[in-house]
Amino acid sequence: MIEIPIGYYITLSAILFTMGVLGVLFRRNAIIIFMSIELMLNAANLALVAFSRQHAAIEGQAFVFFVMTVAAAEVAVGLALIVAIFRTKHSVNIDEINQLKG
């Protein structure tokens, strides 16, 4: 078993999460924003698996499984929303989707 300190994994997780937040804040394409959310979920998963390994506790991996399931459900509904919005607005730029009326 390779013995890499857990601090390295937490560092990588923090960097990836920060990049995900950057994408949500500064990109205007709704699909890219969704990808950034996936990146953040994966960063959280990495931290969970690292802690699971550190404490030899399988519960962390079970929780990662749940996170992946929720992410899959979120992507299905979110992309359906994007498709529905694109049908009416002909755009996925979130600056143009600023009103509730269709």
Partner: protein, 232 residues
């Protein structure tokens, strides 16, 4: 610096670089490909961390199903180059900048704290007490045992969530215009039929009255029955 840490740094650099490529590329298809690379690197990290089942699920669910869904939507919308000009308001940019500074500060603090944890991890065999238990750790059997014994209620709730998400996706992508279009088509056909009847009547009227009058007189009465017929 041992060989394992060098491998970690190389893989971590690829992961961060692919995340940066995802953020910076103008084309959404390239972003999706960079994200798939990032997910694959994370699957390798899961393998290094003694989680082979999670690594396989990562490859099949994330790099497979979810990214195929992303690609499908990008291709369907033709949205790969639809970034457009960024006409963002100044107030929004200020809020985003403040959030960004706070986040980076927190991250730097967390990283500085995390990098002090430089002690190598204890071996799994020592933590779990036996070599057999260490080999079993993270296998599909051990994760499945945890899911179906301790976490059986969350497991069922998640199954329900997936069902709701599926129904939601179907309802959201349903084309409601199709029903309206059929109505419009029927209305157009009725109007076309009514117009054809009117034209025929107009022609017969002109034919019967063309013998005792010129064109101007024939036109004026020909227009008259039209609104009366249409109102019926």
């Amino acid at each position: 610096m041992s060989g394992e840490i060098i491998v970690f740094i190389i893989l971590g650099t690829i992961a961060v670089a692919s995340a940066a490529g995802m953020l910076l590329s103008r084309n959404a298809v390239y972003s999706a490909v960079f994200l798939i690379l990032n997910f694959a690197i994370l699957a390798i990290f899961y393998l290094l961390l003694g989680a082979p089942f999670i690594a396989m699920v990562q490859v099949t669910v994330y790099a497979g199903a979810i990214m195929v869904l992303f690609m499908f939507v990008v291709m369907l919308l033709g949205a790969e180059r639809l970034t457009g000009p960024t006409g963002t308001s100044i107030g929004y940019m200020i809020v985003a900048g403040v959030l960004l500074v706070g986040l980076i500060g927190t991250s730097v603090y967390a990283i500085s704290r995390a990098l002090t944890l430089t002690a190598g991890q204890t071996g799994l065999a020592e933590l779990l007490g036996s070599v057999e238990a260490a080999q079993e750790f993270g296998s599909p059997a051990s994760v499945g045992t945890a899911l179906f014994s301790q976490y059986v209620l969350p497991f069922e709730v998640v199954a329900l969530l997936l069902l709701v998400a599926m129904i939601g996706a179907v309802v959201l992508t349903q084309d409601k215009k199709k029903a309206i279009d059929i109505n419009a088509m029927q209305r157009e056909r009725r109007e076309a039929q009514a117009k054809a009847i009117l034209e025929k009547q107009l022609q017969t009227y002109q034919a019967t009255h063309s013998t005792n009058g010129d064109g101007d007189k024939a036109d004026a009465p020909a227009d008259a029955p039209r609104p009366a017929e249409a109102s019926e």
